[in-house]
């Protein structure tokens, strides 16, 4: 909808503001809630009454009874005021828990109160806040608790809040329980205060509120406490009474029961412990680490420890300064703005689409629908089941139906609202199990079973019959969102020569071009696709996103068009990680040796297949992890539903399955009386033995090294926590545990999928050596890796190399930037093209220098004498380039296949990367929430091309895995996302990251191993989830089997302990 403009009035006094409060008007202070409300569809008022210019509404002053805080005081002032800190530390602590710091610079105390859902309300209630208001009849004061108890009067204006200063001896507590550690919606907030005299409670304040919880004092319990001796309080009984007294609702995220329990826990623990304040925040993410040294030949990756190998990435300065232009940043004169109309309903037949009113709107250039598609209206990397624009049916709420290009965004949005689509709603199915039942509505003509895969080996029944121990569990993983910061978008135009140029962040330009050519019905060589740089992808930009709509808008309008999805649209339309239900039954003998395993996997594809079949297959290839299991039977099913589409995501199914098998290993270890290390030692695959599917695998296996590194980890006995801060000790609130998992991640697309790659080295006119790859810089450090690999191969400097990437017009096809394959492709192309390219350069230089070519070599900056190490150049690259005719400048293009195994009975990987992850966690007895204290990642992915890039992949992968495990869940109900934006979809923030994070690499390869670097892209995420789960299991005796971990279930498990 186009935003309806409103008037803003600026009264000079509170009285004037009150008098303006008629009709469709609304008071506004900081205004920070407005965008959230409007995004939720709440109406915009016709008039906003800005309180910001009224004098006297800001500021914190002391008066007779305490502090007076002006209603327009920003929350940041409450958080940083020395007066508040001195007199009202409870309020200060509460203020610091509201939103984030930049929001607190805008948001005001008055706004937090007036909405009646603010996170400050419990604290203000506990502090006996009195409101100073102007109403119909003039000025008055009213206690906050009374004001909350009556309906809001829309003609009242809040001027200030009066807060008596409590007795310094009173004990207090405050806590906001949220969905993550900070900057979170409130699940429930509490504040409590006990004033004591000579050990007797003389007054008590207990309050709850925040978010959905109606803010109120727990007066009956307060009365019971008064007169009691504080030393004699029966805290367990108080907790029980609080749980009964607190009124809180359920929502999709947390139950009412959980809210009541954690509020009671927090009040009791806070008041029982508190001599004064409970520490409001703990510092995670400490960098002043108690460093764990590497055990050679492993190295520890850090700037200080690898100083000679630490290079600043070529794109770092432009990124930090903001000067890097992303494809969604393009603005040019005459450029139209595009918008896409989404179905907004999960399953329906399209009866008609009428775009006439939209086309007639002034400023609209074109409206496109399926009728404008010249080729096949179907795409998909594996199966072409997805329409570029829906024509007969919509299958999920994010399905595109039409698109508009107009002179500006507001006009384009207005035009969308004028497109009339008549639908006939169809029954929906959103549960994958139900989708496979006979009675479910068919989402595609072939039914809802998109794919079924079976594999078996040995005699599973006999294996289970011989078992001493069997662990049978059901694991459930969540619908994780990629959450790249730059949402899908870019621009497109038709060039003067008729070429269609599409600039949209992606992961494989050549394949995007192929898919676009099919849709548009035009030859691939008439299309140029530019896919880099892009602001994060993680698999989420592997499939086509907005390219078809942008291309059609540009072609139809004949003008350049830009388009970027809003976050809400990205959530609705973008792909996610497949939610999986994994039933795994694993048997061992009494000594812990694995005998048999049965696995049944069901994955929710959503409405279309995308890369789902590949994800399913990869998950099933990883069912045994790095272990040997003689008898195996697996089944995997991928079901269509009317949910959002799922597809590629870092890990590609392997990390979901690793969660299951690595938790099974710990469970069996317990049954067998073995340590987590020992059971893994007894089952580890032997070097050189066939892979899980029976395939030949690459040399340089490092599983034993990884396991022994894990065995030696200081995290098992807490030795790493020697910083003396006591954090991470079992202090009564938190229970500590350490867990591990091994990682065994296949690289490449597999033996059955064509996996061509290539690259090109070329001397440019300016003397730089162009290294051209059809790969994409999504943040992983491709540019640095190219410079590293090519300069190392040629013997020149990193700066001599100019990476040219992500553009079908400028770089050869290198295959997709996915499946941990990019690093190997970069290295291999350099390796293959390097010798020929060097020889051509030295030949050309030899002619100019009058020296024999075999006496020359490449050196940083140019050509040098082969025997010299002085660094003296005989000829600079730029002089060489200038001396050569354009067609005489060397250029070498290579093409090759990503290394594959010969297995053809199934899609099998050849190259694997290895890792061990050890994690130490703290589980709160108050909230059931998990804090990750330490992560140690031991990795073996061959030689590290670029230390900073590799470190970044491991650290970033770890915390993306942490989010998957603890907070992230794109919840859906009835085919709609409940987490519409980043206010409810909980990406980890800086307070959620592991407190300490150490990354180690074991680089060496076996003699004769010519495969070079393995993939680092997915290694970082692979083993995080099971390591955290196993650590929680060690901490509380209960291993969570569904993601993200449910704090309520963890609390129950803690409560059930003997």
């Amino acid at each position: 909808m186009a935003p309806l403009s409103f008037d803003v009035l600026h009264p000079a006094s509170v009285r004037e503001a009150r008098d303006m409060l008629q009709g469709d008007a609304r008071l506004v202070a900081g205004g920070t809630a407005l965008q959230l409300e409007w995004a939720r569809g709440l109406p915009r008022p016709a008039r906003l009454i800005d309180l910001g210019r009224i004098p006297g509404l800001k500021g914190i002053t002391e008066d007779a009874g305490g502090l007076r805080i002006g209603a327009l005081s920003p929350l940041a002032r409450l958080a940083d005021s020395a007066r508040v800190a001195q007199h009202l530390p409870l309020l200060q602590a509460a203020a610091r828990s509201v939103a984030g710091p930049a929001v607190r610079n805008l948001a005001t105390l008055g706004g937090n109160i007036a909405g009646r859902t603010g996170c400050l309300l419990p604290a203000l209630l506990a502090l006996d806040a009195v409101l100073e208001m102007t109403g119909r009849d003039g000025h008055f004061r009213e206690p906050l608790s009374d004001w909350l108890a009556r309906p809001a009067d829309p003609t009242e204006v809040l001027k200030a809040v009066h807060l008596p200063v409590p007795d310094a001896q009173s004990r207090w507590t405050q806590r906001k329980i949220g969905l993550r550690a900070a900057f979170t919606p409130s699940v429930i907030g509490i504040a409590g205060r006990l004033a004591c005299r000579d050990g007797t409670i003389v007054s008590a304040r207990l309050a709850v509120g925040g978010g959905l919880v109606v803010p109120c004092r727990l007066s009956a319990i307060e009365r019971q406490l008064v007169g009691q001796e504080v030393a004699g309080v029966d805290w367990p009984a108080l907790r029980t009474a609080l749980i009964a007294a607190i009124d809180a609702p359920d929502d999709a995220f947390r139950s009412a029961r959980y809210r009541r329990m954690v509020a009671a826990n927090a009040l009791v623990r806070g008041l029982q412990d508190a001599g004064g304040a409970r520490a409001a925040e703990r510092p995670p993410g400490r960098s002043a680490q108690a460093d764990t040294p590497a055990t050679p030949p492993e190295i520890r990756l850090s700037r200080s420890e690898q100083a000679s190998r630490w290079h600043v990435r070529p794109d770092m300065d432009p990124k930090v300064s903001g000067m890097l232009s992303y494809l969604t940043d393009r603005r040019e004169a005459g450029m139209l703005v595009g918008r896409i109309l989404r179905a907004g309903r999960p399953h329906a037949r399209i009866l008609s689409i009428d775009t006439r009113a939209a086309e007639a709107l002034p400023g609209v250039a074109v409206v496109v629908t399926h009728r404008d598609i010249g080729g096949e209206n179907a795409f998909g990397i594996v199966v072409q089941d997805q329409p570029a624009f829906c024509f007969d049916r919509v299958r999920h709420a994010g399905d595109p139906v039409a698109a508009v290009a107009a002179v500006d965004a507001a006009t384009a949005e207005a035009a969308l609202a004028l497109i009339r689509v008549d639908y006939e709603d169809l029954p929906i199915v959103t549960d994958p199990e139900e989708a496979l039942s006979d009675t479910a509505p068919a989402i595609h003509a072939g039914g809802n079973l998109q794919r079924i895969l079976h594999f078996s080996r040995g005699d599973v029944a006999a294996g289970f019959a011989a078992a001493a121990h069997v662990v049978e569990r059901r694991y459930e993983t969540s619908r994780q969102m990629h959450g790249f910061m730059e949402t899908e978008g870019g621009f497109a135009r038709v060039e003067p020569d008729g070429t269609l140029a599409v600039f949209v962040g992606g992961q494989h330009g050549a394949r995007d071009r192929l898919q676009l050519a099919r849709i548009l019905g035009r030859a691939e060589d008439t299309i140029r696709v530019v896919t880099s740089p892009t602001g994060g992808a993680f698999g989420g930009k592997d499939e086509l996103t907005v390219q078809p709509a942008l291309a059609l808008l540009a072609i139809t309008s004949g003008r350049p068009v830009r388009l970027q999805l809003s976050r809400a649209e990205s959530v609705a339309a973008g792909i996610k990680r497949h939610p999986m239900i994994i039933r795994m039954r694993t048997a061992s003998d009494a000594a812990g040796r694995l005998i048999a395993q049965e696995v049944d996997l069901l994955a929710d594809a959503g409405a279309y297949a995308s890369l789902g079949p590949g994800v399913l297959e990869t998950a099933l290839e990883h069912v045994a992890g790095p272990y040997v299991i003689p008898h195996v039977s697996t089944r995997g099913r991928l079901a269509y539903t009317n949910n959002g589409v799922c597809g590629a995501f870092r890990g590609f199914g392997a990390n979901q399955m690793t969660y299951a098998i690595e938790c099974q290993m710990d469970a069996l270890a317990d049954l067998c009386g073995l340590t987590p290390v020992e059971i893994r030692r007894r089952n580890l695959r032997a070097k050189g033995s066939p892979g899980f599917l029976g395939q030949t695998v690459a040399p340089s296996e490092r599983l034993t090294d990884m396991l022994e590194a894990a065995a030696a980890s200081p995290l098992w006995d807490g030795r790493a926590d020697d910083d003396g801060d006591g954090d991470g000790d079992d202090d009564g609130e938190e229970m500590i545990g350490t867990g591990m998992a091994l990682n065994y991640q296949g690289n490449g697309l597999g033996s059955l999928v064509p996996d061509p790659a290539g690259g090109r080295l070329r001397l440019r006119a300016d003397g730089r050596i162009e290294a051209a790859y059809g790969l994409d810089e999504m943040g992983q450090g491709l540019l640095a890796s190219i410079q590293a690999a090519v300069s190392a191969e040629l013997g020149c400097a990193r700066d001599d190399i100019l990476p040219v990437i992500g553009d079908t017009a400028l770089a050869p096809d290198s295959g997709s930037t996915s499946a941990s394959r990019g690093g190997h492709v970069v290295w291999r192309a350099a390796r293959l093209a390097g010798p020929d390219f060097s020889a051509r350069l030295t030949d050309a230089a030899a002619g100019l220098l009058g020296r024999p070519a075999d006496g020359l070599k490449l050196a940083p900056g140019g050509i040098a004498d082969r025997r010299s190490n002085s660094g003296r150049l005989l000829l600079r690259f730029c002089d060489l380039a200038e001396a050569l005719a354009p067609d005489a400048r060397p250029s070498v293009t290579v093409a090759f296949d990503f290394p594959k195994t010969d297995h053809t009975a199934g899609n099998a990987r050849y190259i694997f990367a290895f890792g061990a992850c050890i994690v130490r966690v703290a589980v709160s007895r108050v909230t059931g929430m998990v804090r990750v204290l330490d992560i140690h990642q031991h990795t073996a992915a061959g030689p590290v091309l670029d230390v900073a890039a590799y470190l970044g992949q491991m650290e970033g992968g770890a915390i993306q895995g942490l989010g998957f495990t603890l907070t992230e869940h794109a919840r859906m109900a009835d085919g709609a996302y409940l987490t519409a934006n980043l206010d409810t979809y909980m990406l980890p923030g800086i307070r959620d990251t592991a407190r300490r994070l150490s990354v180690f690499a074991l680089e060496g390869l076996d003699d004769g191993d010519g495969l070079g670097p393995r993939g680092a892209g997915e290694l970082g995420i692979g083993a995080i989830t099971p390591a955290i789960a196993n650590a929680v299991g060690r901490a509380i005796g209960h291993t969570p089997l569904s993601l993200p971990f449910c704090p309520e279930a963890l609390l129950d498990a803690i409560g059930a302990r003997p």
Binding site: S5, F6, V8, T32, Q35, L36, A39, D50, G100, P101, A102, V103, N105, L106, E281, G285, R286, S287, A288, R303, R313, D315, M316, V320, G322, M323, L324, Y326, D329, R331, D408, A409, G483, F484, M485, E486, P533, G535, G536, F538, S566, R567, A568, M778, G779, A948, L951, G952, E955, G956, I959, N981, L982, L987, P988, G989, I990, T993, A994, L997
Partner: protein
């Protein structure tokens, strides 16, 4: 649609836009300053952080009517602050970012912190970055860079910043 007058990176501007137009849109689409990124549009990611009257704010939450008379600093204008140059250099040396989309907002949040609190250390840095999401790095590289900047500022780079009292850049 009435004109709103404000200062952007030291330059006086007057722009006619509807009152509800967000500052993030004004910067990106009207002023063509695209270093300010938008990743959520509801004040929950920090990618659009700018300084308004010396304080970090989410540009997507600030509407045109709220910037009348305000002093806005966008990422493009940060080099006027010596403090910002030190923050950037430290983050660059540490390779603090990956995709980089969150970087301008994080540089802005850190600059605002150090301008108001030159002695800020780890605890203050963590608090100051609570509102900035990064999906790529897991935050440790950013924290290492920020701590390096904090050490540099504490170790007497005060004289280097050229930001006396650091409330306003001397060059503006």
């Amino acid at each position: 649609m009435s004109p709103v007058a404000f200062r952007l990176d030291g330059e006086a501007l007057s722009i006619a836009v509807p009152a509800e137009t967000r500052l993030s849109e004004i910067l990106r689409d009207r002023c063509l300053r695209t270093a300010t990124k938008v990743a959520c549009g509801i004040g929950r990611c920090g990618a659009c952080t700018v300084m308004m009257n010396g304080e970090a704010v989410n540009a997507c939450l600030v509407m045109a009517w709220q910037i009348e008379g305000a002093e806005i600093v966008s990422p493009e204008g940060l080099d006027a602050f010596g403090t910002a140059r030190i923050v950037k250099a430290a983050l660059i040396a540490e390779n603090a970012f990956q995709c980089g989309y969150c970087a301008p907002g994080i540089v802005m949040a850190l600059t605002a912190l150090f301008l108001s609190h030159r002695q800020a250390g780890e605890a203050e840095i963590l608090s100051a970055l609570e509102g900035n999401l990064c999906r790529c790095t897991g935050y440790h590289s950013i924290l290492r860079g920020a701590l390096a900047a904090a050490n540099r500022l504490r170790d007497g780079a005060a004289g280097e910043t050229g930001d006396p009292h650091d409330a306003n850049p001397s060059s503006l």
